[in-house]
Subunit: 463 residues, 2 copies
Amino acid sequence: MTDSSRSQTAAASEYFSSNRESFLEQLFALLAQRSVSTTGEGIPECAELVRTLLEKAGLRASTIATDGAPMVIGEYERPGNRFTLLLYGHYDVQPADEPEWQSDPFAPTVRDGRIYARGASDNKGQFYAHIAAIASLLAADAHIPVNVTVLLEGEEETGSPNIDSFLQSQRERLAADLVLIADGPGHPSGRPVAVFGARGLVYLEVSLRNAETDQHSGTYGGVTPNPAVALSRLISNLIGTDRTVNAPGFYDRVRAPSRSEVELARAIPFSAAGFRRTIGVRALEPSISDNLEYWRRIMFEPNLNVSGIASGYTRTGMKSVIPSKAVLKLDARLVPDQDPTEIAELLASEIRRLEPEATVNYLARMTPYRIEPSDHATTAVLASLARAWQSEPLVYPSLGGSLPAAGFLTALEAKPIVLSYGHHDQNNHGPNENLRLDHFELGVHSTLEIIAALAELDRNAQN
Amino acid sequence: MTDSSRSQTAAASEYFSSNRESFLEQLFALLAQRSVSTTGEGIPECAELVRTLLEKAGLRASTIATDGAPMVIGEYERPGNRFTLLLYGHYDVQPADEPEWQSDPFAPTVRDGRIYARGASDNKGQFYAHIAAIASLLAADAHIPVNVTVLLEGEEETGSPNIDSFLQSQRERLAADLVLIADGPGHPSGRPVAVFGARGLVYLEVSLRNAETDQHSGTYGGVTPNPAVALSRLISNLIGTDRTVNAPGFYDRVRAPSRSEVELARAIPFSAAGFRRTIGVRALEPSISDNLEYWRRIMFEPNLNVSGIASGYTRTGMKSVIPSKAVLKLDARLVPDQDPTEIAELLASEIRRLEPEATVNYLARMTPYRIEPSDHATTAVLASLARAWQSEPLVYPSLGGSLPAAGFLTALEAKPIVLSYGHHDQNNHGPNENLRLDHFELGVHSTLEIIAALAELDRNAQN
């Protein structure tokens, strides 16, 4: 690395450290702005807030309407830069209705070195590390040695229904050499994480109504069907005791992991005891004998999950009714080369076969992807992470979760790498979601190191 | 029937008709008073209101504390009366949280000749017909020709946990020759209904917690167990596709109906099409070929029902989580000679065998009973109903629902008969519960006829 890029990184780091409090203030304002995509609450307001943050950072910032939530774009080009880095994130968050929150999920609170708020780690806190790094570079040295596009969407938590068509429609404007996404949990070891794939998603809502209103379970028990029983039986039939998904064709396109993907997974440490303790789960699925088996299920196998079921009377005490209806939320996590549309259809078809009166709605579809981490840019990113964290990165062949990154791969032909600036116990999607302050700072420094390394690559390529 | 009892009945009828509006006002005040036993809301206030209604009617009225809701008692004795009639009812109601209510469930509203309110038919409106008859007798003629005890409890909808011990402790005070209970729905034909049994009840709450909080279904889908899936599988295992309850011993003590019970059931008309239309149920359980099969399932067979299930995210839109816990409400309707305590234990034992981490709570137990309608008092009651309704009563060997009446049978050695002053579409336990005004009036006149007939029996026995 040249002296000039080193000194620029040092100056930006210095600027960030001196202005840490004001950066945190901006982040807190972002976390305080509700932006729950599943209900739509606060989405337009948050898009505008994010746009002003990009503008303050020194980027050319705009919002672009879609059929759903607006996209927010920040852009920076400079003559002489040839490498373009696209930084993707999402400003929407999951609902925060869990009773276990110890502080208001939309009033960011620091306790024991962590910021507690909905979106702290998923994904406002993580993408804001990118923005803080860019702002620091521009404030300290007035330029960035690579072109940068920041793309922030507002529907990731509802399956990014508009990202693929948006990427297609903006192919030239968004053209990039590398896509970075800072999202997802870190590893208990504290080592940095880089991810080269994600599972896909199909989210279905199944509802079954047998009567106009709930019926007295004494007066009619035995003669009218019970939709809660019917959907319970549906679940039992769809999901085997060994987790097998019983829908014809479901596994047909599952791609086996390559030998190198298996070796990368095997190299990621895992402690079942530590997992149970920190995540608060009483037990793992039986028969998880070693770390490879754990990662294999999360990275290389599809899974069908019940996200929710509701029917009848479920509050305190007793009420004796035959419920009039039942609702079931199902999410399937997919692996390459399963096709979300095909899987959605074959699941719906099996559901209708088992329960002909059921109504099936598709709420989301996301494509799974896995790429092999092998080129110069990838190597530079991994080396930068090692430098920032003073620790060798763990390379994940895939996230268990889903990301719209597959769209970048297909529409922009740009390789997406997912980094985690978070930690293993950040509790995405659950109560008391949080981001460690030291991890946020590691995220800023990682971004600075990566930009310096990519600029160096670019210079070497030009020479 | 003697002239004097005829003229007394006529005078009381006349008094009721002249004062119909003020009786309805009292009933409306009673319906407006919340008294939801499952939450406890308004229970003490309602007990006191009921006591004042009994007092106004001319009875010696008191409330008696129990471990739960107070019992309210109204008493009348007169020298020379030998026959004692016990009128039982309950002043508590089911919750009224259904969104389909067309008017406030606690602001009684008359539409199309029906009173719409929670408790209108179950059971405030029906027991108030008894009270209005007594008040009319005392106002018109200053005496009642039989001794009367009115017993109103406030925990029927939560399984009458204190009625049996209360009856035991007050055996002498409550001693009676006949117990009448006006409760439950009527028949679509409009013919009066007399019931000689009820199914029992066991209400269980099953909960299963696998984690402290909901988990991200991508990050952990495949490695942590899902309690919604576990309880769905539990339901599928407990309740067979043919409704068979798969718990060892469940059917051991089921008493087959006698030939005369079967004949009584066969004589009750039933229209599947009318049922679907008026109850708003899309379909009956398949294989209900005729009216006897319909009544057989409701009167002579036990049934295990899911009153409610809740787990994970169930509101609008999507949230992808592995739920941390799941809760299931199960109610079993029992027939003689199943024992609620034994059934509760064998169900819980099977549940724990299937899902060892599940927690099972018992919320209610009620004993099933069936008696044969054969003695003088029974015959007098059926004849009085025929006179008041100008229509032959339908005799039900059993209700599908549950009543604490079995306690009267065992503790007081008094035969309980359940009459319905309601109608088939009164929607007990559901939204828009209602009571037809003409049925309320038929209830008052029935009570007057029954009292006259029992007094006649008493006189004949004395002569």
